[in-house]
């Protein structure tokens, strides 16, 4: 089960993820990110404070938009990852391909 909510703060879109992103639920994350890009948001912050689990299906969603982020000058920063969730990004070195920060303030400064 995944919960996704979004809000805007200044010119940032904040997507808040909660629960678990796996092969069954990653479609919702995919739709939320696709919609954010379609709506032309250029600064997207992903709040992972309540994200308990992510599998390759969730990692793959972020990876599949990297080209769009680059070609459309979109800045996406993930923040608030627990140690175990951050570790999943690190196993394959995806923390080098995506921007990951500690908290909201730091995430905003990276955008």
């Amino acid at each position: 089960m995944i919960d996704i909510s979004n809000k805007t703060e200044e010119d940032f879109l904040i997507l808040t993820l909660g629960g678990e992103v796996d092969a069954s639920s990653s479609i919702h994350l995919d739709k939320a990110l696709g919609k954010a890009i379609e709506q032309n948001h250029k600064k997207i912050l992903v709040d992972c404070n309540n994200l308990n689990y992510i599998s390759s299906a969730g990692l793959g969603v972020f990876m599949s938009y990297i080209e769009d982020f680059q070609s459309q000058n979109i800045n996406l920063v993930l923040f608030g990852l627990s140690d175990k969730v951050k570790n999943v990004f690190e196993i394959l070195g995806l923390d080098q391909l995506l921007k990951i920060s500690k908290n909201l303030e730091e995430a905003k400064s990276l955008c």
Binding site: M1, D22, A23, S24, S55, A57, S64, K84, N87
Partner: protein, 140 residues
Amino acid sequence: MKYNFKAPCSKKKLRAIRDFIGKNLKKHNLDDIEINMIVLAVDEVCANLIIHSHDCDPNESLELNMNVDAKHEGVTFEIIDRGEGFNILKYKEPSLDDIVRNKKKGGLGLMLVKRIMDHIEFKSSPRKNICKLYKKFENH
């Protein structure tokens, strides 16, 4: 210590599979990061079988045997199914560049399994396929 679980081939059952593994590994004094990595690797193999070998057909099932060594040195999983055999060892990994360039959402799961697990075996017979995974615990 042996544990056994059987699940229908539905993506919605992945959570129950993860809960089963996590709950039982917690009894063996592992930290959260290590438990999560092991749970992740088995989740990836099961998701792959459910989606690619069984087309998410809930009338089919897979069986999971989990065995923590008597000396608590590591854990072995056997994931047994009766679908079209999928040999994880013969899977050719895409590169991360390919995945990004082709905007692919798949391909990362089995890479994770190979990075996390210490030993992977695949056996296939006309009756069943067995994917065997072994992970040595970090503090041993």
